[in-house]
Symmetry: C2
DNA sequence: TAAAAACTTGCAATCGGTTGCGTAAAAATA
DNA sequence: TATTTTTACGCAACCGATTGCAAGTTTTTA
């Protein structure tokens, strides 16, 4: 078992009687190296099985080709699809992805942001933890001109890239759909009001109600952590009301499924007695019986878009290395959402 | 906007009139440094906001504190839970996780294994691509004594850590369960025979049939890529048979759900006409109606276990740096599986 | 043909911890 | 008090690629 040392540019330089600087430049098509030399170097490098030491390059340049990802939890349909999209784009461009999960804890988020920073990630994509209010721990990325993309769960007061859906409009559409199905007393099961995703959807919900001259009953608005169990609990509370709702807009499918199960257990007819709409279009939405009407949004595409923002930023930053434009970036990308009507809400043909 | 340079051990050394070597050693409790000095150095480092440059350390030691992960696809319930478990353990130990997905392509797997190797990961956890037959691209990790863990989809002829379930026994249990429910003609929808996960389950299936004196009908064994759609297709084929099955053992829940949907569409009674058992206990299994009987296995725990194998290996390797034990490692860890009986197969009270 | 311009390549410092080896200082032993 | 041991720390090379600047060579221009 030979401890064969990796071949370095020094080995190539020695073999070719050239300087390491020439090798280094030739390998990345530096314009001051002649085409002949470039070709020869590349050929020899190939022959010798040369693979550049990423760490050495990173140390020198004080940056890696790693995109950091910071999300609440990996094993959620939406998040894992998001990551899948990120990884796909990154991989194609020769970048790697480093994944971390905050478990929806602000404290973890702060620590992980530091860890990613220390890892010299070339960019970071983050979806905020449920209880994050202060986002100053991300400022260091801005200061170092490291591209930062907030995706889905974004802060409202941070000038940087944002990739998201129009939550207000989605909430409005969802609620309006229920109204169109004849619902007059629509409940709303939501998450932390600190997260734009939920506060905005709620805003859309409220506006849709008001527009239809329906009253907004605080009793019908329940704040939860959006688990399946909490969906069940919220549903129980709602159905036990003296004047129960005839429609529910739940901000994620997991909790919405909990609502369906309770409704079924109580022999409520869906959608006749209670129409239900969820959010995300998780796989279960199309599997459950009745099919869950939901708001679909392109998770994979959101990931891809986020990754592209990072890559583009890096590309243009390289070009304009001379022009030290340090303007604050405020680029918000909205991806489309769609009401996916299924049986849980279709009262009409 | 000050381009405040990061503080290095040089800065600390200068401030304290000590050598960088002393700082470096003090920060990691090297025994030759006095406790007084260690405390002082740590205090100053803390004050100055020192954060070690991972790349520099990695370059020198030719290794990082990154665990590489190579899986088929991230956005699958089983895989994302697996990764979640890995990340959790890694994070607690101060390690990072680099994720890549082969998309079930052998070629991608080869390239990604190289990329992870080049990234100087300190260990690698892999679940093989669907069509991987040759695993020699992993040999380089062994040669460099980089711990390699195969998880779930493992090769049969590679001496290294393996974390998996007893697929044979699981397949046997699943089939036997159907037999106990009175099924006499049990179909089997499986994946690539090159993957241990599927070939072993099939072996268990066959043995369970033989043991019960049931005939093994090749017509009832269908090989697929295990998507929802292929589950539907396979079900259609089976149900169209002149002598259709009265039970189906599907090696994943996704395809099993496809089977259920087709059965329902054809108004077959589940489980009276056709009993169905899946594999994985994906979230949909408990949501779908009827509930899908399935084989559960601890995805998160498999991830955790895999990560621990890596960490333990690194720990013991550090201790026995003098004892250059290079024996081939063949450590197989089996995690438990369980038949989760739900409505899709319970014919009896 | 001489001088200027353009093209190629080399030199050497740099990034920031890590570590083998040497040595000064303090403590233990003779 | 002299000598051996132990303790504590410093020196300097090292990991491998990158890059500003210098310098040599060739081509172009006057």
């Amino acid at each position: 078992m030979e401890e064969s040392r990796d071949v370095t540019i020094y080995d190539i330089a020695e073999r070719m009687n050239l300087a390491t600087s020439t090798i280094s430049r030739a390998l990345k098509d530096h314009p001051t190296i002649s085409d002949k030399t470039i070709k020869k170097v590349k050929k020899v490098a190939e022959e010798m099985g040369f693979r550049p030491n990423i760490l050495a390059a990173g140390l020198r340049g004080n940056s890696t080709k790693i995109i950091g990802v910071l999300v609440s939890r990996i094993n959620r349909p939406f998040i894992s699809s998001l990551i899948s999209g990120i990884e796909e784009i990154a991989q194609k461009a020769g970048y790697s992805v480093m994944i971390t999960q905050s478990h929806d804890s602000y404290e973890d988020e702060v620590n992980l942001s530091k860890a990613l920073y220390d890892s010299r990630v070339c960019g970071i994509i983050c979806s905020l933890a449920m209880d994050t209010r202060d986002t100053s721990h991300f400022q260091k990325f801005i200061d170092k001109n490291i591209p930062l993309v907030f995706v889905d769960r974004v802060p409202k007061d941070f000038d940087t890239y944002r990739v998201m859906i129009d939550n207000y409009s989605a909430g409005y559409k969802a609620t309006k759909h229920l109204i169109e199905q004849g619902c007059r007393r629509i409940a709303h099961i939501t998450g932390s009001p600190y997260r734009n995703t939920y506060s905005e959807r709620k805003r859309g919900y409220v506006d849709a109600l008001l527009e239809a001259n329906l009253t907004v009953d605080e009793e019908l608005i329940i704040e939860t952590t959006l688990t399946y169990e909490e969906g069940e609990t919220a549903a129980t509370t709602l159905f036990d009301l003296p004047n129960p709702p005839d429609g529910v807009f739940v901000v994620n499918d997991t909790a919405a499924v909990g609502v369906i199960q309770i409704a079924k257990k109580r022999s409520l007819r869906i959608p006749e007695d209670i129409a239900i709409i969820g959010f995300n279009d998780d796989p279960i939405a199309s599997i459950i019986d009745p099919g869950l009407t939901t708001i679909s949004h392109p998770a994979v595409k959101m990931g891809q878009t986020s990754a592209k923002k990072i890559l583009n930023h890096l590309k243009s930053a390289k070009k304009s290395a001379d022009t030290p434009k340090k303007d604050r970036i405020t680029e918000v990308t909205f991806l489309n959402t769609e009401v996916l009507v299924r049986a849980s809400s279709s009262r009409k043909e």
